[in-house]
Symmetry: C2
Subunit: 159 residues, 2 copies
Amino acid sequence: MEPAGTGLGREGERMAAVDLSTHPGHLARRLQQAHSLLWGAMVSEETTSPQFAVLNALLEKPGMDQRTLSEHVHLDRSTIADIVARLAGRELVERVRDPADGRRNVLKLTEYGRRVHGKLVTRTGRMNRVFLAPLDGEERETLLRLIARVAGAAEELRG
Amino acid sequence: MEPAGTGLGREGERMAAVDLSTHPGHLARRLQQAHSLLWGAMVSEETTSPQFAVLNALLEKPGMDQRTLSEHVHLDRSTIADIVARLAGRELVERVRDPADGRRNVLKLTEYGRRVHGKLVTRTGRMNRVFLAPLDGEERETLLRLIARVAGAAEELRG
DNA sequence: CAGAAATACTCAGCACACTGAGCAATTCCT
DNA sequence: AGGAATTGCTCAGTGTGCTGAGTATTTCTG
């Protein structure tokens, strides 16, 4: 299965360097980085992609608390707190303490937040077409499906 | 080509929420995050995946300066400086001013750095098998190839 | 050879993303 | 009802990753 898998170099080489282009983690980082650069150029410099994910989730399910939101967009509770604080500071999101349960922050989009989301949806569609331009329709679908499968499985490993 | 592409909601909905699982950027972030979690559990808590990429590049081409290194691993010059500083602090990497060109830092692995790299290579192989376990052999190859194509093309867009 | 351009790096500032510790509020159990 | 466990959030600390400004060194040009 592995022709020269362990990478025993010739002569006195102790351990050969590895080809990073076969490492999914390295590729994932490059992909994410390339995406975030393109996002800044084609979608928005103010609102980042994770921020958009939060806006989108809150449009779909207003009234969520931060924990539920964090599960929804697959982000850490602390990270969500940071992002929500920034969005609240920019008046895109309204965050109020739940009077019925004093632990929770109840989150909703503001009218302005809905407007911004709408604008970003359009631009995001354009950007995704450019981003995936090197692939044909079937390849695009395959890529998204395979990433979702690997990411989903890895996320399962630690609830 | 797009059955209901623009997402015009029924009734008075202004702009429907989007399905993030069709957004490569969101999936890329999840993939990277899941990977980094698994890395911490299966490979190393001290040495991160980008740090390993740097060690690996320096094993392959000792004597590089930071700029060359940054192109090699697709990381920013500032980010490389941070990472190299951490690795140098842990005595994994030797960083000396080039006497022939006082602008450059010449970088090399220490003997200790080579030992650490060797240990990580083995563990990284194990981890990658677990990470990609949900896919069969052909799917793995496809996933890596498609990511590399999209990332490479996007990196081209801005030299 | 002196000034200008290019190169390599550093530094500050911001955003994301995690862990672990701690606080406050609620719920559960006796 | 009262103490324990759970839940939701915040805060501090670390690492990754970018931009933009600034510094030092080398190279290019007149």
